[in-house]
Symmetry: C2
Subunit: 608 residues, 2 copies
């Protein structure tokens, strides 16, 4: 199916928007009137620009407050419409969106509405234009798609059809039966289909629509269900995104357009009209890669956590540190190409250690990479050096490099083969493994990151939680595979420029966090000090065994529990922009200690 996007969904000048839409692979655009008015390009020049970019102009929008008005007003409306139809002729747009009236002049008179829309369609026909009439959810008299369709049907004019908009329909829907009427509309009378999702906000529908729409799969609507019904009518027009969103207005147009098109690809897969390579969820974390100019501080920390340096890359200044199944690469070479990471707040230019890459164990790295590429993930060069194994890797929206690995599997290129073993002491009694890797995200790209990890990697997105940092509210949402072998909490700060929100961390699981914390401190490590007040509150909230709470208090171990069991955790100090967490997770506990995050964040601010 053809895909299209409304220019209002993207930031910048009209030419920036068109370029971004074309680069992301859209087939067409809806031209939003205000974007045209503000453009120095004449309509013919816009038409030529679109043609050069391989874009069709699928819709001109919107015309408002046209129908069911007194004749004198309607004459003025027709005069205005004639101007617009002439403009559309210059622009090469053959369909115009007419929104149901919100004017106080409009009358509750369907016959009058049909008659005037029919006269509008007469005029449109003279210009080779089709009129797509849409019910705004807050229309004065016409606010439902079936009402708009009844008017269109009774007008019976070949140049008059309806436009369906998932926001206007689903924001008013109380159940799937509200959508049954869609399939009563002949597909050829659905002149256009606009798609948007939205989070469940329960707010005034006009404000909700104008500020909080999002791309399909990023909100709470069953957009796929609606599209399935529309496709059953025989609708053959484009799937077009019309998303008003305060964040997208500020974000760079290029990445937003890619995010937009990815959401449509996933939607098309969901409704069965796209042929994408199947998702292949990763099964575990092969390694995490830290980049640093000075390896000493972070390797000292790794040593105190029980990691041992076991191998060295054959061609680059990268060391492998291991403990059981936990592997951490420490890279002191030049960081990965800047363009792959320019959106993560310039982390590579900051002194200190950053978490730059993750190796994910994949059942089939090549197939997983094919899906990623089909879903517009930037594919990274397969070889970083002539001597390296040809690894599949893609860049996440935040610039993090994701390597798709097959560690220790014969007949598949293995990253481990690029490393030569170093003499090292036999493994000690330590038992840490990776519980989760927490990836703070750059401002503006949170929903995009969640969709990326869900769609491209086949991970499942868990509940979104708000966390109060002393200097702003954070939002966090984990993406995980089914068995918990891969857990990636994604977190975004409340505002740009908060350096703290950009620290990332690796959480290491243990069966005995007290013993692990003691070994760490006995090795000279410093755990994050937690205020005594926190433990007084724990005492009020939970019963503890004798001495248990005192142990936690002495070490700085935080505690939470749900119906499945307890979650005990503590934090190392921060090196550059990376810190570590020690975690003891009772079987079945699915959380990450979010309830303790405000105390942890305040403690981290305090030691800075």
């Amino acid at each position: 199916m053809r895909t299209s996007i409304a220019t209002v969904s993207l930031s910048g000048s009209l030419t920036e928007k068109l370029t971004a839409a074309a680069r992301a692979g859209f087939d067409g655009v809806e031209i939003f009137e205000n974007d045209l008015l503000a453009s120095p390009l004449a309509p013919e020049e816009i038409r030529a620009r679109c043609a050069d970019l391989g874009l069709t102009v699928d819709l001109y929008q919107p015309m408002r407050d046209i129908e069911a008005v007194p004749e004198e007003q309607f004459a003025r409306n027709l005069r205005r419409a004639r101007h617009k139809f002439a403009l559309m002729d210059r622009l090469g747009a053959d369909t115009v969106l007419v929104c149901s009236s919100v004017s106080p002049l409009a009358e509750a008179d369907d016959a009058l509405a049909a008659e005037q829309l029919s006269r509008l369609a007469d005029l449109a026909q003279d210009f080779g234009v089709r009129v797509a009439y849409e019910a705004l959810a807050w229309g004065r008299h016409v606010s439902t798609y079936d009402h708009a369709w009844r008017i269109v049907e009774s007008a019976g004019h070949p140049a008059l059809g309806t436009c369906l908009d998932s926001f206007h329909i689903l924001s008013r829907s109380t159940g799937p039966e509200d959508l049954d009427g869609i399939e009563d509309i002949p597909g050829e009378k659905i002149f256009f289909l606009q798609l948007a999702d939205a989070p469940p906000l329960g707010m005034d529908v006009l404000q909700w629509s104008r500020h909080h729409r999002c791309f399909p799969g990023q909100g709470g609507f069953d957009v796929a269900g609606l599209v399935r019904r529309v496709l059953r009518t025989g609708y053959a027009g484009p799937l077009s995104l019309e998303v008003f969103n305060d964040v997208f207005r500020q974000a760079e147009a290029g990445p937003t357009a890619v995010d937009a098109r990815r959401s449509l690809l996933v939607l098309q897969e969901e409704v069965g009209v796209a042929d994408l390579p199947a998702p292949l969820a990763p099964t575990g974390i092969a390694f995490t890669e830290l980049v640093t100019r000075d390896a000493e501080p972070v390797t000292a920390l790794l040593g105190r956590l029980g990691f041992t340096r076991t191998a060295r890359h054959r061609g680059k200044p990268v060391e492998l540190w291991e403990q059981g199944d936990a592997r951490i690469l420490v890279n002191t070479g030049p960081a990965a190409p800047a363009d792959a990471r320019h959106r993560s707040g310039g982390r590579t230019s900051v002194d200190g250690t950053t978490l730059a890459a993750i190796g994910l164990e994949s059942p089939d790295p090549a197939a997983a990479a094919r899906r990623a590429e089909a879903l517009l993930a930037p594919v990274l060069p397969r070889r970083r050096g002539a001597e390296d194994a040809p690894l599949d890797a893609v860049a996440a929206p935040d610039g993090t490099e994701l390597f798709l690995c097959a560690t220790g599997r014969p007949a598949t290129p293995d990253w481990r083969a690029d490393f030569e073993d170093l003499p090292h002491p036999a493994a000690g009694p330590r038992d840490l493994r990776v519980d989760h890797v927490a990836l703070t995200q750059p401002w503006h790209h949170f929903d995009e990151a969640v969709l990326f990890h869900r769609a491209v990697l086949g991970l499942a997105a868990r509940e979104s939680v708000d966390v109060a940092d002393p200097y702003g509210l954070l939002r966090s949402r984990a993406v995980t595979n089914a068995d918990g072998g891969v857990r990636l909490p994604l977190t975004v700060g409340a505002a740009p420029g908060d350096g703290t929100a950009h620290a990332r961390h690796i959480a290491l699981a243990t069966d005995d966090v007290v013993a692990a914390a003691r070994r760490f401190t006995e090795a000279g490590g410093r755990l994050l000090p937690i205020p005594a007040n926190y433990y007084d509150d724990l005492a009020a909230r939970f019963p503890f065994e004798d001495g248990e709470l005192e142990t936690y208090r002495a070490l700085g171990i935080l505690y939470d529990r749900d119906e499945h069991g307890a979650f005990r955790h503590c934090y190392t100090h921060t090196v550059g922009r990376v810190f570590f967490e020690l975690v003891q997770r009772d079987a079945g506990h699915q959380g990450y200690g979010a309830v303790n995050a405000p105390v942890r964040l305040a403690a981290q601010h305090a030691v800075r």
Copy 2:
């Protein structure tokens, strides 16, 4: 009356919050439990810190999900409460907030609620603590203040009273009669009064409360009406602000605390319990001051607009440029002290011209300054130099210096006396005067700026409008005096760091914008080019005289009209961070051409 603020209303660590509250002049604080838990200070140390700062601990909050639960659960709740009462003893807090339960365990049983709250109050009494029971607007069974009061009344316990919260009451109120019950509560049983305002958002009340509360006078609630009723009961506790707001969480605590206390002062004035000097609205713009390192570009622009250099400051490198009643100072000396302006995005450190001060004609500058000082406006030194007239001046929240002037009035210090006349040609035929001065505001401080200009200067705030910039949404709201002699549109960008949003402008009124624009271009001035598409749209929207639209198109004049008449306007290019607008305003038109702002903003982005 005593004033208090909840620590959750301010950003930062607990000690930062306490310091900010004390500096702003609050008498006490509500300690929010999470702020205490995250603090490294022991309760005794917090108590001592408060005492040092002259703050009382008026409330500890909140305790949740206490009442109307099965006995076994209530026993656990009492155990938890005992911990908290012991903590309050150490903290020196004698009142605890108990919110009505949202627990699924709670039963719809008022008698049980009263009985358990009574037992809680028994325990509290042992610790010298009073329990203030409050109805959350989303409480499971108790969600209205009168319901909470009935339970408190039937319990009849001396250590149990109610807490009234303006948000919880007014967010559910459908009319003033809903508040009649307040006056049936004996004042001594109202243990606490929490105040917050909120904008009319029509959204889920829990989300509305948690993210969008604001200080009284900054939202849409009749907080004063509620406070009047509470005061009639004989309530003698503090007026305390409890405001959950995503913006305040990120903003510096000090200015937020000042904004908070100013809102309470205005509220106290409104309900007749504060004695502030009366407001004295300014009657006109005496001058606008531009600060620049290089006067040439902006004075060339002023010359082309018809301004003449008429005088020079006797002691400083400041020139006066005049045209009719419009006066502009061009200051090439060191800018005003950096501390007065550090919040305006570091404008003084940017090369180029900035709009740094405004002279406002005041009926009584000294009295106006006394009101400003009483409302916590930073008062600037009366003399900038030994030789200067002793002018009253205050700093606005954005750092703009506001001089209170009495131009040409005998017996009052006159800024004009600091200037000596320069020889200059006789005034020409030009007739410009100041229509408005548009002041872009730093991120985070929009509501604060509106309240400041309203309360401190006695201006009226007009409707708030959203304006789409190509790179984000702007919000704009004008403050004006009654006759339009002073009009200051305040605008804030959608995100920090957008330089464009920080350009300010002076709009000059003329009776013939076409003639003024022609004179400007004939003098060599460049007007902002406006796209042809804009004029094609105007042609569709309005009827024009023959040739009228072509004239506007040729010059770049924008057009709007309302029921009172037309508004015609055009823009000069930008010098540094300042530009000028030429305005022809039909009598009665109250707008500022907001409908044209997206086109203007896009054009300004295009010429950068």
